[in-house]
């Protein structure tokens, strides 16, 4: 349908955000480059506005509820109520994160709650952004400014918003030839603030640099209680030659949370990355991943499991940019939609003219469990080169009636049969995770999420 130009942006609520950002920037003593970065961030997001559904990249995700909700930044000090609630939520982590040896940074509503250094490998810097900005801002200046400059071309609303509120997050530096054995844990907890006023918003920025031949596993977890909240989380990674990143993101925000997450990784020659996304919580969730395979022979694996039940909308957006020759990518995303849940998968693979010998495979599978669940899938290939092997596949359907019948003939109740099959569908992605602790946690969580009684599989 073509009509006279339709608005590709929503400007509702943007002015309030700009005001909050200006107040925030004025309250911080920052070096000039950082002030400039925040100012241009404000100018950019004010100009862009929230993308509307007429913006092709946001076609299936309506941000109007987010634009309409008022959110405010919380003061720097953490209240007792927040602290208590955060500890309760943290306890839900079970086995992961609680072993004393794991280095961990915990944040509550965007402010640092606790720092557990664990057994951090020598030379590895795992610090919070606020400290770095206060003590040695020059260390992050180049990376932050360069990324912001890139964004000027791509017109990214949430990226600019992140620049405007740039303050807290994690700075990770892994020196050359270092392999970090223990996973590095970044935990974000959103809790009711225990204060009057608008619900909290959090803009967090993680910056990881991996030098040559280094490797590390990073777990980012987002937990939330029931209160409304808005999290804008960005992680930007630079991988040096032959460096390797394992990135696991657990999204378990509360049922009224808005969550926009973005992970972008720049790969040097031979660098490889693996990203695992598990998205269970939130009201309106967007998980974005941008993999830039700039170095020859780089590789990336993208795995994602997104589950949405009534009242939830989960949008997974991935971009794999094959710039150089002989790079490989594998992508598998699965969606499980129940109740009135809505899922979106939009994955794009771009193969540039010079990227010969590219091997890219993309798969999206969606399982619909209820009559009212919705899914939109848009797997895309953009290929500018003939020496490639690329494929994508997408399937959407409900549980196989024959498989359900088979399990029932073995004595399972219809609910148990359905739950078991759903579990089997989702567990493929859990199995791809390296850490046994994370796997155990996810298995438990997936079982708890399932519609019916699969909570105790050993009792089946």
């Amino acid at each position: 349908m073509t009509r006279a130009a339709r608005p590709t942006a929503l400007h509702e609520g943007v002015a309030t955000l700009a005001e909050a950002a200006a107040d925030f920037a004025a309250a911080r003593h920052s070096p000039p480059w950082l002030q400039k970065l925040r100012r241009s961030g404000i100018a950019a997001f004010e100009r862009l506005g929230f993308p509307s559904t007429y913006d092709e990249e946001w076609r299936f995700t309506n941000l109007a509820p987010l634009a309409r909700s008022p959110f405010s930044l919380l003061p720097d000090d953490v209240t007792l109520a927040e602290r208590t609630a955060a500890f309760e939520l943290e306890a839900r982590l079970g086995t992961i994160g609680f072993s004393a040896s794991e280095p961990r940074l915990s944040f509550v509503n965007g402010r640092l709650l606790r720092r557990s250094p664990g057994d951090l490998t020598a030379g590895v810097l795992f610090e919070c952004m606020k400290d770095v900005l206060a003590t040695s801002p020059e260390r992050v200046e180049r990376a932050l400014v360069a990324r912001a400059a890139e964004r000027d071309h791509s017109e990214h609303f949430f990226g600019s918003l992140g620049d405007a509120f740039l303050d807290e997050g994690v700075v990770l530096h892994v020196p050359a030839n270092t392999s970090v054995t223990e996973p590095l844990f970044i935990l974000h907890v959103s809790t009711p603030a225990g204060r009057a006023g608008a619900p909290s918003m959090v803009h967090t920025r993680n910056l990881f640099t991996f030098e040559e031949n280094s490797s590390a596993t990073v777990i980012e977890a987002y937990f939330g209680a029931g209160a409304p909240s808005f999290t804008n989380a960005r992680t930007e990674v630079d991988l040096g030659r032959n460096a390797r990143l394992h990135h696991i993101k657990l999204q378990l925000e509360g049922p009224e949370a808005f969550h926009v997450g973005h992970l972008s990784v720049a790969h040097a020659v031979g660098a490889t990355s693996a990203s695992h996304v598990f998205s269970f919580g939130g009201r309106l969730v967007r998980n974005e991943i941008a993999m830039d395979l700039a170095g020859e022979g780089a590789g990336t694996e993208l795995y994602g499991l997104f589950c949405a039940n009534s009242g939830q909308h989960v949008d997974c957006h991935t971009l794999i940019d094959h710039v150089s020759p002989r790079a490989n990518s594998v992508e598998l995303y699965k969606g499980v939609l129940d109740g009135t849940g809505r899922g979106v998968f939009d994955g794009k693979i771009v193969v540039r003219p010079g990227a010969v010998r590219t091997d890219a495979r993309q798969t999206n599978r969606n399982l619909i469990l209820s009559d009212s669940a919705l899914v939109d899938s848009k797997p895309q290939l953009e290929i500018h080169n003939n020496d490639v092997r690329c494929s994508h596949g997408s399937t959407t359907g409900r549980l196989d009636a024959d498989a359900v019948f088979y399990l029932r003939s073995r004595g399972l109740s219809p609910e148990a049969a359905r739950a078991l099959l759903t579990y089997a569908f989702g567990s493929e992605l859990i199995e791809k995770v390296g850490s046994a602790d994370v796997r155990a946690f996810l298995e438990g969580h997936l079982r708890a999420w399932l519609p019916a009684n699969l909570a105790a599989p050993e009792n089946r």
Partner: protein, 481 residues
């Protein structure tokens, strides 16, 4: 493979690029309400149709040209296009028989290989030929009329069967549907109309041949096919245009309506002038094609072989409204030199137990850019819907591009959808195998390309399958390395 082979093959000339010198009735370039009135007046149309055109024109004025497709072209100046050009002979009314048709015209169709003459009865094809804007001759009319089939030019249908036209015109593609459909609705000059009454199986293939002859003209034809309960029809469409250095616009609308148990098979071999090796000239083929499976168990199938046009931008679609209706889309799109194609389909499942199949084969060579863009939408009440999509791309040379943008929207959990796509070049080992069996390099590539497209080509009616294979050969054969 040797560049020499690639070179000779991609240098193949456009064989249909002749201009026939025919005295033509042309109106001045430009578009305004007066031009719309003039066209309507020239065709002696009734008041309601003029109103319909004017409504479309006024709506078109409020619209902006869509920009979302992956094609690039300089802005079109809609005031420089001639919206009506008719061979002079048609001024004295439509020809009664072939004897009334000008010999140059017939010679031209002879060159094109259109089986227009009665003696070509063996071909068994009834042809409605549209040159520039006006339908020049329709063969086999009497024979078709004897079983109750109406197959005539659009203008004639407006005169002879106004009720049918009024009932179905714009029922599938409304005049406000999109920018080019609105433009077409305002200025369409002729086209084909086909009506298959209840229970009739059309005894022969129906066919339309389009040709743009006049310079600077746009061709805006409209095809409307209605198949009543249980009717069956197979329809072919072919197109060519002379070689010119300027781009010409072709914005057609095709509407298909299938009632209960009816079947419509629509095949296209699109070979408009694609422009020269430097990408100069060629037709902009911006077409809206849509079929409505209105009745239970109705079937609509689109088959297209797209080898021509500088830019192809079309999405033959099916609205699967009736329970148990079936839609199909088979496409081979080939882009060579600087051709661009953004084509695909939309399958909108509304009725229960509706099924659709999409098989799209894209071949890119030279600097060609080939995009598959398709949507499969399963609406809320489309219980038990089923879709299978397959989109394969073959890349020939390192300057071309192949892109796949499928949209899959599911609003009903009982649906089963599969989408697969792959992109690759011709395997060295496949070539080696053929060469080793004694085939020349070009024969080997021709064999492989034809094999790649076979699943679509076999959907074409016989007469067209031969032409389509030849076309693929002319444009591509052997140019793979």
């Amino acid at each position: 493979m040797s560049d020499a082979v690639l070179d000779t093959l991609t240098r193949q000339e456009y064989p249909h690029g002749f201009v026939t010198d025919i005295d033509t009735d042309v109106i001045p370039a430009g578009l305004s309400e007066d031009v719309v009135r003039l066209i309507s007046n020239k065709k002696g149309e009734p008041e309601w149709l003029l109103d319909w055109r004017l409504k479309a024109y006024r709506h078109w004025l409020t619209m902006v040209e869509p920009k979302w497709a992956r094609v690039t072209y300089p802005p079109i100046d809609y005031q420089k296009i001639v919206y009506y050009a008719a061979p002079r002979s048609s001024k004295e009314g439509a020809p009664k028989s072939l004897a009334d048709v000008e010999p140059e015209l017939l010679a031209m169709y002879e060159k094109l290989g259109v089986p227009l003459k009665e003696r070509e009865i063996l071909a068994g094809v009834a042809v409605d030929a549209v040159i520039d804007s006006v339908s020049v001759a329709t063969t086999f009319k009497e024979k078709l009329a004897s079983v109750g089939i109406i197959f005539c030019s659009f203008s004639e249908a407006v005169r002879e069967h106004p009720d049918l036209v009024k009932k179905y015109l714009g029922s599938v593609v409304p005049s406000s549907d999109n920018f080019f459909a609105a433009l077409n609705s305002a200025v369409f000059s002729d086209g084909s109309f086909c009506f298959i009454p209840k229970g009739v199986r059309c005894p022969m293939e129906l066919s339309t041949y389009f040709r743009i002859n006049q310079a600077d003209t746009g061709q805006f034809e409209r095809t409307l096919i209605v198949a009543e309960q249980g009717a069956v029809v197979s329809y072919l469409e072919g197109c060519t245009a002379p070689k010119r250095d300027t781009n010409q616009l072709h914005a057609a609308v095709v509407e298909l309506v299938a009632l209960d148990d009816a079947q419509i098979k629509y095949s296209t071999v699109q070979n408009w002038y694609p422009g020269d090796r430097e990408g100069k000239g060629g037709i902009y083929n911006f077409v809206t094609k849509r079929g409505k499976c209105a009745g239970r168990n109705s079937r609509i199938s689109w088959t297209q072989v797209e080898t021509g046009s500088a830019i192809t931008w079309k999405y033959p679609s099916c609205i699967l409204l009736g329970d148990g209706s079936v839609g199909a889309f088979y496409s081979v799109a080939l882009t060579n030199n600087y051709q661009q194609a953004d084509t695909g389909t939309k399958m909108i499942h509304i009725g229960k137990n509706t099924r659709s199949t999409i098989v799209s084969k894209g071949i890119s060579a030279g600097h060609g850019q080939n995009t598959y863009r398709g949507a499969v939408t399963i609406m809320k009440n489309a219980e038990g819907a089923r879709n299978y999509s397959q989109c394969d791309s073959l890349l020939i040379g390192d300057q071309c591009g192949a892109h796949t943008f499928p949209y899959i929207e599911v609003k009903n959990s009982s649906a089963t959808l599969e989408h697969e796509a792959s992109t690759s070049k011709i395997g060295e080992d496949q070539l080696f195998y053929c060469r080793q069996r004694g085939l020349s390099a070009e024969d080997a590539v021709s064999l492989i390309v034809n094999g790649f497209a076979k699943r679509v080509l076999k959907e074409l009616p016989m007469e067209f399958a031969v032409e389509a294979q030849k076309l693929l050969g002319v444009s591509l054969e052997g140019s793979v390395g």
